[in-house]
Assembly symmetry: C2
Homo-oligomer: 304 residues x 2
């Protein structure tokens, strides 16, 4: 099971953090941007080249510190198909470097279309009868608003291709409660979604006891982490909101089980833009590494 | 307002149908696939080339019959970044031909990321201080599970760049009710979402009286169409599920207001694959046109 592969990497590095590679162009050090604009023009090609250079340097420095990277698709799509090509290149490079790669795409659609999305990110495209990988990530995030038939093709891809998914349950943003906290009978919408996650994940429990169908549960709602941890004991949690979104180590302890496992904690801006605090743009990757190490130590101490 | 532009195109063509361009490779006539595999190889490049050729020919034939096209992003992402490049090229070509272009991406994320998605599809990327269009669609579909701050950046893009969005309310798939039909107090989740759509759309009412914040409401649930039509009088409906998903003209009349406006009806497979019924693959585009005309006549008669 894919979740076992993720856990193995977490144990190897003694680090449940995920480095988010969400490369908004304004996060990229100026010297890289200037170099790429000079070579490719001040356009989407130049922007995409800068992003790849930034990502590759971050991966080189982070690959022995973190278990996984999470690529937020929006920051690649923002730069058009050239940006999306960099999404593909970054997935490949991160996998080469031994990282577990989560494509944060939050896809959702009816069954036939969900099957195409599962093909795009997990199981490959049928090209003249041959299965051809497109964006070959280890895992994707999905949105369960459409119910089981929108998720089933992803679950099938997990089973057949050793992949995993994380389903949005309780998101980290301020207004997530507008729908997610509303009560259906005695349960909040996020609890109803949690029960669906349990159902979808039943057939995908690995040797670790965890399922390859995980859940996105925001660090910014620690009390709900607790409730959801109890409600989905076998789901691995992908926890966003740490760092730039305001949550700290105390806010994520509830996401873990007593075995010290059960969650990966994402930080994007705080790692990518660490160099803006040190003021040393030339050594942006070292600054990212230092922040990832600081975060590792902080989190392992908190859950230890 | 963007919704007024859409309505103008609908009136010009006397046709509220949207042709869905969801080009799974198996929908593309064999002679195109063979030609493209020969030129580019039996790989993602060849697949992408075939899809573009198919799309362009369909657009040529359909652009004076339908008001709009809807591009389902999954069927482009399935073929990797090369497929996504074809998404971009198809958007450009369809706009050149005067069509209103809906990118069916169902994106959803926290505020900062939603802003990047809105940039990607509606308002452009900031590249060294210059606004540079990425995928320059007229409209996107979005998923409101994250609440207001995940939708606000799209609404802002609609206001500033004359664009529109369609928010998932009640989807056409069989299991959509698992969450969407559940009751929150006296209302179904889809009604709660409908009220949110009304709120998001308030500031974007055009001369037509309709808002540029619309709703996705599946043709496969005609009774809910009725309820939602009354609940969101100013929202334009994007109605999937007609044709291959089983709904007919009688199932979509409830989506329209008494002014004969208020909805666009999408058909993808039935139009794209019409040639499979006639058995004349050489004239696939003519077969698509005939089906789009048949659908136009059927729908205009039903709502007349």
């Amino acid at each position: 099971m894919s979740v076992d592969i993720l856990i193995k990497k977490i144990k190897e590095k003694n680090n449940p953090t995920v480095a988010g590679l969400d490369p908004l162009l304004s996060y990229v050090p100026e010297h890289i941007i200037n170099e790429c604009f000079e070579e490719h023009g001040k356009n989407l090609s130049g922007a995409a080249a800068a992003i790849y250079k930034f990502n590759a340097a971050l991966i080189d420095e982070l690959s022995d510190v973190v278990a996984a990277v999470k690529l937020q698709s929006a920051y690649y799509e923002l730069y058009g198909w050239r940006g999306v090509r960099v999404l593909d290149e970054t997935i490949r490079y991160a996998k080469e470097k031994g990282l577990y790669v989560i494509a944060d795409v939050k896809r959702n659609d009816i069954g036939s279309t969900a099957k195409a999305y599962a093909g795009a990110y997990l199981s490959g495209a049928d090209v003249g009868g041959e299965v051809t990988p497109a964006f070959d990530a280890d895992s994707v995030t999905v949105n369960g608003y459409l119910g089981t038939d929108g998720i089933a093709p992803f679950v099938e891809a997990c089973r057949e291709h050793k992949k995993s998914i994380f389903v949005l349950v309780k998101t980290s943003n301020p207004s997530s409660g507008e729908l997610q906290d509303k009560k259906i009978g005695g349960d909040a919408v996020y609890e109803v979604m949690a029960d669906m996650v349990n159902g979808w994940g039943e057939g995908l429990i690995g040797e670790s006891g965890y399922s390859s169908v995980g859940a996105v549960v925001g660090a910014t709602y620690p009390e709900m982490q607790k409730i959801l941890r109890a409600r989905m004991p076998r789901a691995y949690f992908l926890v966003p909101g740490y760092g730039a979104q305001g949550a700290g180590a105390a806010d994520i302890v509830n996401a873990f089980n007593k075995d010290g496992l059960g969650a990966v904690i994402n930080s994007s801006r705080a790692i990518m833009c660490a160099y803006k605090k040190t003021g040393d743009a030339a050594n942006f990757a070292k600054a990212a590494r230092a922040e990832a190490e600081r975060m590792r130590d902080e989190i392992t101490a908190a859950i230890g």
